[in-house]
């Protein structure tokens, strides 16, 4: 059995700048390594190791199901993420994973789906949206509501159009906009009125800053979506990623192994505890 604490060596196969501080990296395994790393599913994360700088949990933003390179979208905010973003094609990155649970896409079949993303939170949702687009006929109304800091800080803008073409209603909003912007300005919660929600048959997938997810969850509950069908991806300081070290413990839950995707019903009481 593979040691889950042992990073496998991957190489940067391609790199694309998404925003001023955010990069998407495509990672290919070094010879033999891929056989020993399981396939990732939408919602799961890897521990990416920038040798000499540190290790960080990063959700997959593509390459799920073991097809093609492993794709991660990373924002450079600390020493390890800065080092990962600075890696060039051919450079090595350590990878552990896949870790955590997944977005409940199959369970959502037959009902409406609303995906709510805030900022870089669109990256962990991207594989789920791709799955929804690929089997669009299995769902009712599918809506993506995306809030970003500014028009310049919207991720995957070309994909937003391709998702629209695939039958997903995509609505965007920004916190602030320069002169000449002709889109919406305001909170992402404002977009919820745009979504077609069939109450108890709607599944919601949310990823973004925790405060945003809290308010989006409350708004969806107001609109009749059941707490047990509202799924949010939590972020904490994962270290071991296998539930041993306790760094990501949130009350009785370990974000790394019990999550990162939780229902609002399960996580709401814990979000209200300030000491956590």
């Amino acid at each position: 059995m593979r040691d889950p604490m042992l990073p496998l060596s991957f190489r940067v196969a391609a790199k694309r700048r998404e925003l001023a501080d955010t990069w998407t990296l495509e990672l290919e395994p070094d010879a033999g390594a891929h056989d020993r790393l399981g396939a990732f599913a939408p919602g799961q994360f890897a521990m990416l190791y920038a040798f000499g700088s540190g290790e960080v949990p990063i959700s997959v933003s593509g390459g799920v199901g073991g097809e093609g390179p492993l794709v991660h979208t990373v924002r450079a905010v600390g020493a390890a993420t800065r080092a990962i973003c600075a890696a060039e094609p051919g450079d090595s990155v350590g990878v552990r994973g896949p870790f955590g649970n997944t977005w409940p896409i199959e369970e959502a079949e037959g009902g409406d789906v609303v995906v709510v993303a805030g900022g870089i939170g669109l990256a962990p949702l991207r594989p789920a949206i791709e799955r929804l687009a690929a089997s669009r006929e299995r769902f009712g109304a599918v809506t993506l509501l995306y809030g970003a800091r500014s028009p310049d800080e919207m991720l995957f803008t070309e994909e937003l159009d391709s998702w629209r073409s695939a039958g997903i209603a995509v609505e965007t909003i920004v916190d602030s906009a320069p002169a000449g912007w002709s889109g919406r300005v305001g909170l992402v919660t404002k977009l919820i009125d745009e979504a077609e929600l069939s109450g108890g048959h709607t599944t919601a997938l949310i990823c973004g800053p925790e405060v945003m997810m809290r308010f989006v969850g409350a708004e969806l509950v107001q609109r009749g979506v059941e707490r047990s069908r509202i799924h949010i991806s939590m972020e904490r300081n994962m270290k071991c990623a296998i539930g041993h070290c306790g760094h990501c413990q949130l009350g009785p839950a370990f974000i790394c192994k019990d999550g990162p995707v939780f229902t609002l019903a399960a996580i709401e009481p814990l979000m209200a505890v300030r000491e956590l």
Binding site: I58, A79, I120, S176, P178, G186, G208, N237
Partner: protein
């Protein structure tokens, strides 16, 4: 073919006026008319007397303020079903921001001076209007506070992102 709706009916459809008593709707409709703005047209100008407010029936309006060297910055957009303008309720009745139609925008436009007069004469109507405008003001205040948090910005000391 759909029938043309009266101003009373259009006002009653606005969420802010939902389930308002018919006689009160009739009174406020007496101060209202349909008005359409083309994209780029100004609905309100910062600093001017706040003598109108609007229900946006269909379209998109940007609330803007002019900042030297940066131009007109959009602070918020107002869309279908929403109320635009509450400065007419608060002395000294001056408009706080510019409002500009981004796309063709159909509104119900209210003569706020007329309505203020009616509200002064009929405190029950005045109370009802305040009861309906206050949640809008609170919601926008709360939205502004949350945006001040800049939740999508980089978090100092954070490492895991993506």
């Amino acid at each position: 073919m759909g029938s043309i709706k009266s101003v009373d009916e259009l006002i009653a459809e606005a969420p802010a006026f939902a389930e308002m008593r018919a006689e009160q709707l009739e009174v406020i409709a007496g101060c209202a008319r349909n008005q359409t703005f083309e994209g780029g047209e100004q609905l309100m100008r910062e600093g001017e007397e706040a003598n109108r407010f609007y229900v946006i029936r269909r379209g998109l309006v940007a609330l803007e303020t002019f900042v030297a060297h940066r131009g007109a910055l959009t602070l918020e957009t107002i869309e279908d079903g929403e109320l635009l303008g509450w400065s007419w309720l608060v002395p000294p009745y001056r408009t706080h921001l510019d409002a500009r139609a981004i796309a063709t925008t159909h509104t119900v436009s209210f003569d706020a001076v007329c309505l203020r007069g009616k509200a002064d004469a009929d405190p029950a109507l005045g109370y009802e209007l305040m009861r309906r405008f206050l949640p809008v003001i609170v919601e926008r205040l709360q939205a502004t506070r949350l945006r001040l948090l800049d939740v999508y910005g980089p978090v100092a000391g954070a490492e895991a992102e993506g």
